[in-house]
């Protein structure tokens, strides 16, 4: 009788932790690209430069908070700087679970794109 309960629990856990939304993928990839310099402003700039997409600060900070709650990202405080009114930067890093989630998402895209003629022609 315990098996179905465990089954549903696992499905719930997977869907909450491993499937990334499109914006979550962008944020994780930007953090990975920036390495040790990944803080709020730099992440927004990186996404804008690489994708041409302007990101609302509210969307970014709620996404970072959510990714941290999911355990896909960790953060640490840096030193306060004068150009920021004496406020410290919060630096983000992608955890091993976060890297695995990005990899899974990219594999899903690759698998869906495989065999699509228009895509193969464009990238031949």
């Amino acid at each position: 009788m315990a098996r179905p309960v465990i089954f549903f629990y696992n499905v719930g856990l997977m869907s909450r932790n491993s499937h990334l939304g499109e914006f979550e993928q962008l944020v994780l990839l930007a953090i990975l690209r920036l390495g040790d310099d990944a803080y709020g402003v730099a992440i927004r700039d990186e996404i804008r430069c690489r994708t041409g997409r302007s990101t609302a600060p509210g969307a970014l900070y709620t996404t970072l908070e959510r990714l941290e709650r999911k355990g896909l990202v960790s953060s640490r405080l840096g030193e306060p700087t004068p150009e920021r009114g004496g406020r410290a930067k919060r630096y983000y890093a992608v955890s091993a679970a976060g890297e695995a989630a990005v990899e899974r998402a990219l594999r899903s895209y690759q698998s869906l794109l495989e065999g699509l003629r228009f895509f193969e022609k464009k990238h031949a």
């Binding site: 709020g40 402003v41 600060p57 900070y61 306060p80 009114g85």
Partner: protein
């Protein structure tokens, strides 16, 4: 010039103080590029996004905070009016002018002061009762006042009878006498409830 301290205090109503400090710093850094209007808009966007994110996770708790906030506000407002009556200054609010006319300055000052005091005390009471819980219990009531003002403004527009006086009340009066004092009370209560967070250089 963006006010980083105000940003930090407002953000601390929806996120832990050490996070509020770093987000306020990020917004200040970007404001050097985009200006003070961008800063104000971005701050409002971050505060509301974080509040609605928390609301999505705890709808019942947020609704309960709003009901409690309204009840506390109603009681305090009533008590202040009774206080005014006992002091003999309640007459300033009686015999109000037609809605299209501007209220006499003394009456306006009395009603404004009364509303500001009721909202500040409500912020203090529910902010203190909520302790360091997030989002702060003042947030649902602050957004409720903002929503009421916005709905009243658009209802006037839709009915084709927006008056200068009513527009002034919605655009300036509600932020000045309702939302501002309420948030100030909440911030004051929150600061007393928790120590200053990490990462702040003062």
């Amino acid at each position: 010039m963006p006010n980083t301290l105000v940003a930090e205090e407002l953000l601390s109503l929806v996120t832990p103080r050490d996070r509020a400090v770093s987000i306020a710093g990020d917004l200040t850094e970007e404001a050097a590029r985009y200006g003070a209007i961008w800063f104000a808009g971005a701050l409002a966007g971050v505060v509301s996004a974080m509040f609605f994110g928390a609301f999505g996770r705890a709808k019942l708790r947020t609704a309960a905070m709003l009901v409690a906030g309204l009840a506390v506000w109603a009681v305090l407002y009533l008590l202040l009016r009774v206080g005014g009556l006992l002091l003999g200054i309640e007459g300033l609010a009686a015999g109000s002018a037609p809605p299209s006319d501007l209220l006499p300055p003394a009456m306006l000052a009395y009603l404004g002061g009364l509303l500001a005091a009721a909202n500040f005390l409500t912020g203090l009471v529910i902010g203190r009762a909520g302790g360091s819980s997030l989002p702060s219990p003042v947030m649902p009531l602050a957004l409720f006042w903002a929503a009421v003002a916005a709905m009243a403004f658009f209802a006037d527009l839709a009915a084709g009878r927006p008056t200068g006086y009513c527009t002034l009340v919605y655009v300036v009066g509600v932020p000045a006498f309702y939302i501002g004092p309420l948030l100030a009370g909440g911030v004051y209560a929150a600061r007393r409830a928790e120590p200053v967070g990490l990462g702040t250089a003062r």
